[in-house]
């Protein structure tokens, strides 16, 4: 297998894996911060237990996001050296800014969340939760600035020797045509993801008939954040699609399976026969044209005409992964439909009045199961959405967008590292696979445990409450870090004892 393809596979694997945990941590991060704030305001033990559980789930997930994120920053230099040389003048600054502005903020206040609960003022603890979320959202902004510049370059020119892109305007480069639509599209989808996880955990407790008051609080907040997020997501997703229609003609053509210039319909589903250059779709005629322009009869160029343009002369139509992009794009849209349906069901049958009078969601086992598995919908939407964005820009790594500066583009095949050999890539691929599987198992064990322990101070597990009180007493009698250590040591002893009991 060739070196470029292996490098692409490695990037797809590592970025796709990283992007399981980033959506979870940014999405859950917002809800965690809200739970923490609520507990701070109400001072009730049950709210605090709920907040603490979500802090634990968040930090356990965040750890993997951080760890697998290092891979991404290194990978530009390790696997894409020629790409790094070409874009370094522009692309490096957002990465450095991300580290300075966002990573430090996240990681240091994460330390506060993890170790400071009994050590810092409650108000500062709340602030730390928000700062971690804010830091992660800021991190997303910088990395999307970098990625969007690859989609729609701006604020740069080709150097005189033609070897690199040189920056001419920082703000034009940072806020290139696709940055903001793509940022809001991404972050809102992550928040929807987080809200679905909270809804799923709530449904799980309803199914198990435990922690019911916590479950209803989670269900309520999950639905509110989910609905608000989804409504704004619709707007952001639309503006992000408009950007593709205006700036990235070949991506647009692949998303709609268009080989010839035509008025694009709004396809619901279909299949593209790449060898026959034909798409069979079930679609609303003129629909996409209407969404993009407000008129039902605006024609968009198909791949064959695009490949004839000077700017896109590197495109070889027969090699374009049209069906792949078509399917990922439409799968994403279909998942969005399921997201909406799930939210409507949760809202209708989870209403407090209905639940109290007739049982509603509390008695509907099938709907509980739907909600329990529902995070898979935003998860698939996010993954397929990114596949559309990244595979759709091929064969370019830096895409020659419509308004992009002349000559500022790069073919993916020219971007890899000449000094890295195929066998090295195979070795690291195997290692990535092994390490990432280990990480996933470790994470699932820990999160599964947090969820099954639940928001414990709630009352039914009195032994734990006693122990926590004892721990708190020990904490107040001493005024050093020891308080925390003691408390945890005691709780851990308790849980160790429980573990043995199970065996």
């Amino acid at each position: 297998m060739d070196q470029v393809l292996l490098s692409r596979m490695q990037f797809a694997l590592t970025a796709g894996y990283h992007f399981i945990f980033v959506p979870l941590s940014i999405g859950i991060g917002l809800l965690m911060a809200i739970f923490v704030t609520k507990a701070y305001r109400s001072k009730s033990a049950s709210d605090e237990a709920l907040a603490h559980m979500w802090v634990k789930i968040f930090t356990g997930t965040f750890a993997i996001g951080v760890a697998t994120g290092i891979t991404m920053e290194f990978s530009f230099g390790t696997n894409w050296a020629n790409y790094s040389r070409f874009v370094g003048d522009i692309f490096g600054a957002p990465l450095a800014a991300e580290a300075l502005f966002a990573f430090f903020l996240e990681s240091i206040f994460l330390g506060m969340l993890l170790f400071g609960r009994k050590k810092i003022k409650p108000s500062f603890y709340v602030a730390s939760a928000w700062l971690v979320f804010f830091g992660s959202a800021l991190s997303a902004l910088w990395i999307l600035i970098a990625n969007s510049w690859m989609q729609t370059p701006a604020g740069a020119v080709l150097s005189d020797d033609g070897k690199e892109a040189v920056i001419t305007d920082f703000f034009a480069a940072a806020f290139n045509p696709s940055t903001l639509p793509r940022y809001f599209h991404t972050v809102l989808s992550l928040i929807v993801m987080g809200s679905f996880v909270v809804i799923a955990v709530a449904a799980w407790y309803m199914h198990k008939e435990k922690h019911l008051s916590a479950a209803s609080a989670m269900m309520k907040l999950g639905c509110i954040v989910g609905v608000v997020g989804t409504v704004f997501l619709l707007v952001a997703a639309h503006s992000s699609a408009v950007e593709v229609w205006e700036e990235q003609p070949s991506k647009m053509a692949m998303m709609e399976g268009m080989y010839e210039t035509e008025v694009p319909g709004l396809a619901i589903a279909g299949v593209v026969d790449e060898s026959a250059q034909d798409a069979s779709t079930l679609s609303i005629p003129g629909g996409t044209s209407f969404l993009a322009t407000g008129t039902w009869d605006t024609a968009y160029p198909g791949l064959n005409d695009i490949a004839d343009m000077d700017k896109y002369s590197d495109i070889v139509v027969s090699e374009m992964p049209v069906n792949f992009v078509f399917q990922t794009y439409h799968l994403m849209v279909a998942m969005f439909g399921l997201i909406c349906i799930v939210l409507v069901l949760a809202l209708v049958f989870g209403r407090k009045k209905l639940v109290e009078q007739k049982g509603g969601l509390a008695k509907m086992k099938w709907l509980q199961w739907v909600l329990i598995i529902s995070p898979i919908f935003p998860f698939l939407a996010i993954q397929t959405g990114w596949l559309t964005a990244e595979v759709g820009r091929q064969p370019y790594v830096v895409y020659p967008s419509v308004t992009g500066p002349d000559g500022v583009f790069m073919l993916t095949e020219n971007g890899s590292s000449p000094s890295v050999q195929t066998f090295e890539l195979v070795i690291t691929m195997v290692l990535f696979f092994a390490v990432y599987v280990l990480l996933f198992i470790g994470w699932a064990r820990v999160i599964g445990r947090f969820v099954s322990e639940g928001p414990v101070a709630e009352g039914d597990e009195s032994s734990v409450v006693v122990i926590e009180e004892f721990a708190a007493e020990a904490a107040s009698s001493s005024n050093d870090i020891a308080s925390n250590v003691e408390a945890e040591a005691i709780i851990e002893q308790k849980t160790d004892y429980d573990d043995k009991g199970e065996e």
Binding site: K56, A63, I64, A67, I70, T71, E73, F74, G77, T78, A81, N82, S84, R85, V87, G88, D89, F91, G92, A93, L95, A96, A97, E98, A99, L100, F101, F103, F104, S107, I108, L110, L114, F115, G116, K119, V166, I167, T168, S417, P418, S419, T428, V435, L439, G442, W443, R445, V446, R449, A474, D480, I481, A482, V485, E488, A489, E492, T495, D496
Partner: protein, 340 residues
């Protein structure tokens, strides 16, 4: 070679020094961990001593990497792709180490797994960073475009790079010992154990530094042409390094000297990076075959460097404030958990 690019040459090394000092002590603590922790409460103390701060410390590496990418893209591309397998080993180490912290605390049945991850995850980077530095000093074979053309991984190991690797490793371990001594309860066995390792380790550092320096003068490090103008600065850093190390050794002998010992160990780490920077200047990667990668050949455009300077001027004060807050919050010694 513009003023800004010279500034950024040294700023990259300042960030590296920040990493070497801060993550230095928590990587070192991770290496010592299996040897000095005899009980679960020892383990808990070590993890508590670095738990709140290690993540922020590690960000210095990401910042240094990002700054190198932004300011000298060619140097970033050459080193990261040229040292491919070594960098990947560092990466896997940092990944498993990062998750081992929280998963250890939350998953008692898998503690052994996460203990191993913590140890190996600390050891590999501590050794390999020094080997990488040895290579940029000694010089690597490169083609006209600046791509490494030597043997993958094993081509990076020479007597000199092995020595710089060991020197780095010894520095990390000494820093780790100093930090644990500073944080462990003063009358605990853990404190006694770690304090007894500290001074011998610093003497090892001293010996390795002497050997490495000798190797440079004897030509083991290839033909390094350091600029004349910085000769005084090199001497200053070398003398300060030795002086700081001597102070560290003296104070490491008594337990009341924990803080002074840690600070002077950190000063020594800073001086070592300073010595490296002034030796390398104006080159970022020396070449054994082909042309070296220098400030002039690798530097980003003036505008790009200017933007980076603005970003740094806003970002660095914030970063320092965060560090002040976290180190202040978790100041003082960790105490023995009575319950364990």
């Amino acid at each position: 070679m513009s003023l800004l690019s010279v500034l950024w040459f040294f700023l990259v090394f300042v960030l590296i020094a920040g990493y070497f000092i801060l993550d230095g002590f928590d990587l070192g603590a991770g290496i010592l961990y299996p040897f000095i922790a005899r009980s679960d409460s020892d383990k808990m103390i070590i993890r508590r001593a670095i738990g709140p701060v290690w993540d922020g410390n590690e960000v210095w590496l990401l910042t240094a990497g990002g700054a190198l990418f932004a300011a000298f893209p060619d140097a970033y591309a050459t080193t990261f792709s040229g040292f491919y397998l070594a960098i990947m080993l560092v990466l896997f180490a940092l990944i498993v180490r990062a998750v081992s912290f929280e998963f250890w605390a939350a998953d008692s049945k898998w503690r052994k797994v996460w203990d191993v991850c913590f140890f190996l995850g600390s050891l590999l980077p501590a050794l390999l960073f020094g080997v990488a530095v040895g290579n940029i000093i000694e010089g690597i074979p490169m083609d006209a475009a600046g791509n490494y053309i030597g043997v993958p991984l094993f081509g990076l190991i020479t007597s000199f790079t092995l020595m710089t690797g060991l020197l780095g490793l010894a520095m990390f371990i000494a820093a780790g010992a100093c930090w644990i001594a500073l944080k462990a309860p003063i009358d605990s066995e853990l404190h006694a154990r770690v304090a007894s390792i500290r001074m011998p380790m610093q003497i090892v550092v001293f010996a390795l530094f002497a050997i490495t320096t000798l190797m440079v003068f004897l030509g083991f490090a290839g033909v390094t042409e350091s600029v004349e103008e910085l000769a005084a600065a090199r001497w200053l850093f070398a003398v300060l390094f030795v002086a700081a190390l001597v102070v560290a050794i003296v104070f490491s002998r008594k337990s009341s000297g924990d803080l002074v010992s840690f600070i002077s160990q950190s000063v020594a780490a800073f001086c070592l990076v300073g010595l490296l920077a002034t030796t390398m200047f104006p080159s970022l990667v020396n070449a054994s075959v082909g042309n070296p990668i220098t400030i002039a050949s690798a530097g980003s455009s003036e505008l790009s460097l200017f933007c980076m300077t603005v970003i740094l001027c806003i970002g660095l004060p914030l970063v320092l404030v965060y560090h002040f807050i976290i180190y202040r919050t978790f100041r003082g010694r960790v105490e023995v958990p009575q319950a364990a």
